[in-house]
């Protein structure tokens, strides 16, 4: 399976600021996804990062709040904008060979918003 890294691994941010999370894969992958995991909860898909086009967002998530870039087949970023304490979560990227294939998760970014 691919080796996935995320930066930063954790951060503490002030309300109203923005944080950009990076996801790097050691090989080209077709699909990249971004998830949110709130404390003690399951995994919720934020969006599918599409290479060369706008991300596909799930219900309840909007581009203004969570802009995503995917400039190539090995890298993606997720920005959490205008943060509030409710955004405190673990943010995970995952990759897959195709839409229905096994997803492998990065180590996650633990975000705390004060």
């Amino acid at each position: 399976s691919a080796v996935i890294s995320q930066k930063p691994s954790r951060d503490i941010c002030q309300r109203g600021t923005s944080l950009t999370i990076q996801c790097q894969v050691d090989s080209q992958v077709t699909m990249m996804f971004w998830y949110r995991q709130q404390p003690g909860q399951s995994l919720t898909l934020i969006a599918t990062a599409n290479q060369g086009s706008e991300a596909t967002y799930e219900s309840g998530f909007v581009i203004d709040k969570f802009p995503i870039s995917r400039p190539n087949l090995t890298f993606s970023t997720l920005t959490v904008s205008n943060m509030s304490p409710e955004d405190s979560s673990i943010y995970l990227c995952s990759v897959a060979g195709d839409r229905t294939d096994t997803q492998y998760f990065g180590p996650g970014t633990r975000l705390t918003v004060l």
């Binding site: 909860q41 898909l45 180590p107």
Partner: protein
């Protein structure tokens, strides 16, 4: 629609067996099982595909009943390393469009010495 997992939690002694169930109200294309330890990312265990194809983890097995839209994960002769939260993810396909992987609420497994 989120799949339903049961039980919510289970406590085992080393060497005991457990079953975790995952059920869906929709016809499934595949079921994916993950284990997450505290503070770590979910780790892939197994995928079960419609039509009976199974891939898996060497010491954990699973079944997929397409008619009942259910999957079960079997922890046999549990080891301390089996502790963690187990998530099932279900994948639906309908019409000509692809769905998304949706995760259950998780089952917390604690294995004690």
């Amino acid at each position: 629609q989120q799949p339903v997992q049961s039980p919510q939690a289970v406590i085992l002694r080393e060497g005991e067996d457990a079953v975790i169930n995952c059920s869906s109200s929709k016809a499934l294309y595949s079921v994916h099982w993950y284990r997450q330890k505290h503070g770590e990312a979910p780790v892939f265990l197994m995928i079960l595909l419609k039509g009976g194809e199974q891939k898996g983890h060497e010491k954990i097995s699973a079944s997929f009943n397409e008619k009942k839209q259910q999957s079960s994960l079997y922890l046999t002769a549990s080891q301390l390393s089996y502790s963690g939260t187990y998530f099932c993810g279900t994948f639906y396909v309908w019409a000509d469009s692809w769905g998304k992987l949706q995760f259950g609420a998780g089952t917390q497994v604690v294995v004690t010495p």
